[in-house]
Symmetry: C2
Subunit: 286 residues, 2 copies
Amino acid sequence: MPTAQAQLMNGTDLARTLIDDTARRAAALTRDQHVVPTLATVLVGDDPASVTYVRMKQKRCERAGLRSEHVALPASTSTAQLVDALGVLSADPGIHGILLQHPVGDHIDERAAFDAIAPEKDVDGVTSQSFAAMALGGNGFASCTPGGIIRLLDHYAVDPAGMHAVVVGRSPILGRPVGMLLLGRNATVTYCHSHTRNLGSIVSAADLLVAAVGKPNFIVGEDIKPGAVVIDAGYNAGNIGDVEFSSARTRASLITPVPGGVGPMTIATLLAQTIDAAEPQTTAGE
Amino acid sequence: MPTAQAQLMNGTDLARTLIDDTARRAAALTRDQHVVPTLATVLVGDDPASVTYVRMKQKRCERAGLRSEHVALPASTSTAQLVDALGVLSADPGIHGILLQHPVGDHIDERAAFDAIAPEKDVDGVTSQSFAAMALGGNGFASCTPGGIIRLLDHYAVDPAGMHAVVVGRSPILGRPVGMLLLGRNATVTYCHSHTRNLGSIVSAADLLVAAVGKPNFIVGEDIKPGAVVIDAGYNAGNIGDVEFSSARTRASLITPVPGGVGPMTIATLLAQTIDAAEPQTTAGE
């Protein structure tokens, strides 16, 4: 008997569509307003993974016709120095978006650093103001992975209203904001994390599961509710997600692969939001 | 056979203790620093319920040795005018805390008005900055009802860690922030609301229930999990809470009465936070 297979939510294709649209908007801004939309990337120290991520983001900017301006700070940078640097970029009319690569190192107050970014340039959606906007429904940029997840759901016509959404993980840039965005879309939302008891039984009640815990194959396939929508935001060594893909796929109705699901949407959202930031900033100056 | 009865969580007594402590701190500030801690109350229009609430808060201030300064604005006040008025109070060194009585009327952008309050004077915990601090663990004032609920839980030695907390209601000043505070205390948190399906079965899984929906007897007693902690933040006409008290009491281990549970804690938290705001503001000027 053939096993049913969930439809794949193809983040690679949707991200390409979004980046193509972003490139068109960037070209129009550059041609019509003589402004090249510019993302400042800020890196503290030289952690190899962070260096790789920043380079990848810079390359994607270039390919989409955005300029990126890199600010490299030594690992010894203090919170006050980082806050100052972000304040300078926030005030610079030539910078439209600011990305602070994180984690920034244990000696830095990450929250203070994030909140030194002007909310209107916070295209990575990390400031308190952006979080509150996601949670309370105001104006502001989404954190890029949560924002990318919502774009994926919309593209595949998944309406979270009335669904029981279970978010596993509660980081300030992924689990917490994606839960708030889903609550804003009228899902019933449950947050699970390391202190959660009976995780399996809670997961098995999920119509919509967002796995954002960063542990390979942490969610076992047999806990997936038949017909559920499964969003795997995990990305672990060896291209392994947080969900046991092969078994989950036989139960879910829709599922994101890893890689090629959530990942590409994150960076596409970053680029799209940089143009969102550049458009009003440049036209406001006319 | 006698029916077991939950212990009552006595908010009236705990609020009195907190207000006594607040009064001592207010007296010390007045005596030692010649600064009378001052709460500005801002009211738009003359809705009778709002007028009553504001008067009650002013009276409680007086009794605790705090000064209150009232700003009455006409019902026709625009968002821009209200934002201006709140900006003036935010900049006034004689004002330590600001309370904008809400709802403010449909023609006003309430979020913009709240966010015009300086976060360090936001003793009612309504700004985006305060919300993010509650959600992400930074510095900031709690919304008064959620903050009062946490004080009650602490007083009765209820540790939310690992508990499944179900919050029914998702308002920006009650349901959403109390859920975030409980998540910060390591509870597994589920948000329910008007779109939630199978509310009864979700409520029956709650080790800790927060009812914040504003509908009399909305939560039926038979849905309460035996041994649960029940926090009833509802306050409806006729002194009726959101939870069927008499039947819930036979199942819960701890329960807040209405009135005399959550209600008194809200205003006590407002007063305590006004002193919290006044102390650093006055000492910073030395």
